[in-house]
Symmetry: C2
Subunit: 309 residues, 2 copies
Amino acid sequence: MILTVTLNTALDLTYRVRSLRPHTSHRVSEVAERPGGKGVNVARVLAALGHEATVTGFAGGATGRLVRERLSGTPGVTDALVPVAGATRRTIAVVDELSGDTTQLNEPGPQIEPAEWGAFLDRYDELLPAASAVALCGSLPPGVPVGAYANLVRRARSFGVPVLLDTSGEPLRRGVAARPDIIKPNADELAELTGSHEPLRATQNARRRGAHAVVASLGVQGLLADTPEGRWRAAPPARVHGNPTGAGDSAVAGLLSGLVERLPWPDRLARAVALSAATVQAPAAGEFDRAVYEKLSERISVPRETTAP
Amino acid sequence: MILTVTLNTALDLTYRVRSLRPHTSHRVSEVAERPGGKGVNVARVLAALGHEATVTGFAGGATGRLVRERLSGTPGVTDALVPVAGATRRTIAVVDELSGDTTQLNEPGPQIEPAEWGAFLDRYDELLPAASAVALCGSLPPGVPVGAYANLVRRARSFGVPVLLDTSGEPLRRGVAARPDIIKPNADELAELTGSHEPLRATQNARRRGAHAVVASLGVQGLLADTPEGRWRAAPPARVHGNPTGAGDSAVAGLLSGLVERLPWPDRLARAVALSAATVQAPAAGEFDRAVYEKLSERISVPRETTAP
């Protein structure tokens, strides 16, 4: 199984309104609820690709109960969340019917107590021996040490389990120093980590900091990968329109599934880009359109990047 | 006890953000949760004034469980909500830290099935004999007949229980025709009901349609009451600043408590205005500031309205 860690799980709500106008009142015409947090999204895509995925992290309160109820109804996904006293956060995506644009409101998440963090580490160590790969995803809730991901990367490495890290800021900086197998920053996260806004230079800098491979997601320009086996670019054949929510998580699922299937890097990248584009085009945020995915997977070219940084 | 009916109860969330900007992402710095819906707010204020209040209406799902958990911790408020299969709606008030302005997002509420509406009517009839007054408050959830309030007004009158109706649109139009003792429309609701934007003319029109007394809430101008005993105006001595959420519900609690205490109309109106202003000035939306209330209650003049409409 593939293990995904979501320390700050969420109940993701999508609200449809005519057009969001600050300081006025809105009737929400449609409400969708689903379990969220990056690692949960990754697990759902992995399961859809035919992999067994196990979700760990924290869940608590009425929102946590809803997250767990919904997860238990997702085939291929096993719930190994650790209960906490605080309530799982909500995230709200407010979608304008007129423009399709989205406004995001993210609650901070519950305070995690030291004993709860300890219980999580025990659960993580129990799960690692059965894992073929681990993804560490998203922000840290209040109370979790800022070096949490560095600790989790080191534990995974000590069990010989390949580990992908997808986070930002100081948790990313510290996590990278613990030598994860893959990091998947976006352009802003990569620039914040390395101080460079030039992607080729920045990915090389991130590898010097400790990441074995860096897959930078550059929005409409697709992915730029800098790995021990070489450098590649991968982008969809045409610009895709839609809702980018979850596109990065689908890319992570593509990279991880490709890793455990021992695909060569270009195939992993093609899969990640196709899944990502199929997620942008899906009607529901964070789902992916299987027909688009299958059509695109054949059509993504992954040229070697030959420019010197 | 005073019975308040909230057919569309809510879990009211208040989010604090730096400044709401459409089509961007926001970290919510603070989350507050409380049971809501107009009748629930009215009951909370009644209890704070020393009255026993009973809350009925519908509650369901994880959000409904949270509403009931919180209500059970509110002294003076008795939970007589009827369980439904659908989930109680959420409302979200997004408060800008910079300006204090609020953006409101209201979910529509659960679909009520005919059997659930029937179960509510049975519960309502059981509760009425013990009630000294009834308040019928707020919007109707999907599935409840548009003539619901007219039905509830007639039932209350058949038990000899005075009834206050605070709603809008077609449910108000039909409810008024059933001859409630008091309606409390705001300026827009009154204009929609009567076709007149001239408050004196409009209150008189609303009484001709069936309301025994009309108390129009005219924002900063306070209240205008047209009753069988006479016409009065009541306004706070100075303009109050703050968050108007729940101010109308506090006014309803003032009117209802004054009714069951058999206060003369001017005293009821002074209390309603003082509670309303004390709610606007309270730091938390929908709470009232007791010191402000007590200070103001002595200082509100309620002149007779002598102008002919």
